[in-house]
């Protein structure tokens, strides 16, 4: 007989909800970016609408975590796992909001020639998505090496961000008629840089689960 089988099942349920929330957030980032590249306002609006689903999942995760603390009185690793679920779901929710912000930037840019190919934004987005998947995996698999990799990738995003900032501000002088789009892309650059910071916080929660102490991976 597995001792505390019901508790194990509930922890598994918590993990499934976190995986689902992460999956939806990755889709939000992908779709908002597609919308930005193709200037697809319809798709951008859909990203904004679908964010409710992610917010609802965060609420469900919090409710389940609170109920498990009341019911199971977890200690040690179990408690760190549940605290981690609460903190991580809050970070993922914030990351999904950046997806929404990118969608809103798309709407503000409207039609015209896209300048996105003149930046490193797409590469940044790709790194962010890889980071997000790795950060969650490091938490679920309790893999410290993976958590540290996420910290290293945050440095990579910071470099892309600096590069993109220079590219965009350079264009601002040359293409004043594109000021609106360039300012919005500067915002997107900021959103992605912040996204990577929030993902790094997730990796720190994983490190706390594994080692029981605070790690600064930023």
């Amino acid at each position: 007989m597995v001792v505390r089988e019901n508790f194990e099942n509930s922890l598994q349920e918590l993990q499934v909800k976190m995986e689902e929330m992460t999956q939806l957030t990755v889709e939000s980032l992908e779709k908002s970016f597609d919308a930005l590249k193709t200037q697809d306002v319809e798709l951008a609006l859909r990203v904004i609408e679908e964010d409710n689903e992610i917010d609802d999942l965060e609420e469900e995760i919090n409710q389940l975590a609170i109920w498990l603390m009341v019911k199971e009185q977890p200690v040690a690793r179990d408690l760190r796992k549940i605290i981690g679920a609460i903190k991580i779901s809050s970070e993922v929710e914030r990351i999904a909001d950046f997806g929404v912000n990118i969608a809103k930037a798309t709407i503000k840019i409207g039609n015209g020639d896209s300048l996105i190919n003149k930046t490193s934004l797409e590469a940044m987005k790709e790194v962010c998505i890889t980071m997000l998947n790795k950060a969650l995996k490091s938490f679920f698999d309790e893999n410290m090496a993976l958590a540290k990799e996420v910290g290293d990738m945050d440095d990579e995003v910071d470099e892309y961000s600096d590069e993109t900032y220079k590219q965009l501000t350079g264009h601002l002088c040359e293409r004043q008629e594109e000021t609106n789009q360039l300012v919005q892309l500067l915002f997107v650059n900021r959103y992605l840089e912040r996204t990577a910071d929030h993902i790094t916080n997730i990796a720190e929660s994983a490190a706390y689960l594994i080692k029981g102490r605070k790690y600064d991976l930023n």
């Binding site: 505390r4 200690v75 040690a76 408690l79 102490r213 605070k214 991976l217």
Partner: protein, 270 residues
């Protein structure tokens, strides 16, 4: 890039207490046998003065046996053999023959309230009277102080002459604690003192333990891990007659060092 470990103590970290208490009880390589069967294996532990030390572990792990070695209660069982050192205040209690003095210094509270079928007053005054105290005013003072010390005075002060057995289980247990305090012990042993009590009475006894820490060194055996976490400064995890881990309670319940401790406190044992 550098990965920084931040090792800061949290506000709830009991280990943040700056003053390290003196050792009250020093146990070194203690072995205990019930006839041929060995029940404790090389137990070594330093119990600090005016701290609460919790002993946890599954049934039959030796924690109650160990508790009873602290005031030689096991002497009453036939065939018990003990070796190793058990030093209280610098004196090896198994090298001394004065068990009465030891049990005055090291009081005990049991799992179930075990009051005598007499009045509340007489229960508390029983020990002091056995010690030869006859003076009424002195006895009154001891009874009142002991009942106050056990946080039960206000509930019983108007019925001190009534039978102690008419009290609720929780009240009876606190009178048992008062009876132990009346002997002016320095150490109080508690063997699952709340296992027969309702939740509110349990919380009252736990509050009492916390307040008694100022004056007494307390060693408590409990099966209730939340209780160990709430009341104790240090926790020892026993398994198969050995101490597997002994550390700050905060550490035992948040980041134990031994996988067996982790499995036990998270309820995955067996």
């Amino acid at each position: 890039m550098n990965t920084t470990v931040i090792d800061r103590k949290t506000a709830t970290d009991k280990s943040a207490n700056t003053t390290e208490q003196q050792t009250k009880i020093a146990v070194k390589d203690l072995n205990l046998f019930y006839g041929e069967k060995q029940a404790l294996f090389d137990v070594s532990i330093d119990i600090k003065e005016k701290e609460v030390t919790a002993l946890i572990g599954p049934s039959g792990c030796g924690k109650s046996t160990f508790l009873r070695t602290l005031n030689r209660m096991n002497d009453l069982i036939d065939g018990v053999k003990i070796n190793g050192k058990m030093v209280i205040d610098g004196e090896d209690i198994y090298q001394s023959n004065d068990v009465i003095k030891l049990r005055t210094k090291v009081g005990m509270v049991f799992q179930k309230p075990n009051l005598f079928p007499m009045s509340i007053y007489d229960n508390v005054a029983y020990g002091p009277r056995m010690q030869g105290i006859k003076n009424k005013a002195e006895l009154n003072k001891i009874v009142e102080e002991s009942l106050r010390g056990a946080a039960i005075w206000d509930e019983v002060k108007d019925r001190l002459k009534s039978s102690a057995l008419g009290l609720s289980g929780g009240q009876q247990q606190r009178v048992c604690i008062a009876r132990a305090i009346a002997m002016k012990p320095e150490v109080i042993l508690m063997d699952e003192p709340t296992s027969a009590l309702d939740p509110i009475s349990t919380l009252k006894v736990e509050e009492l333990i916390a307040s008694m820490k100022k004056e007494y060194t307390i060693v408590i055996v409990t099966h209730n891990m939340q209780q160990a976490a709430r009341v104790s400064d240090k926790t020892a995890f026993f398994l198969n007659g050995e101490i597997i881990e002994f550390d700050e309670t905060n550490k035992i319940f948040s980041m134990p060092s031994d996988q067996r401790t982790e499995d036990y406190v998270t309820g995955r044992f067996g």
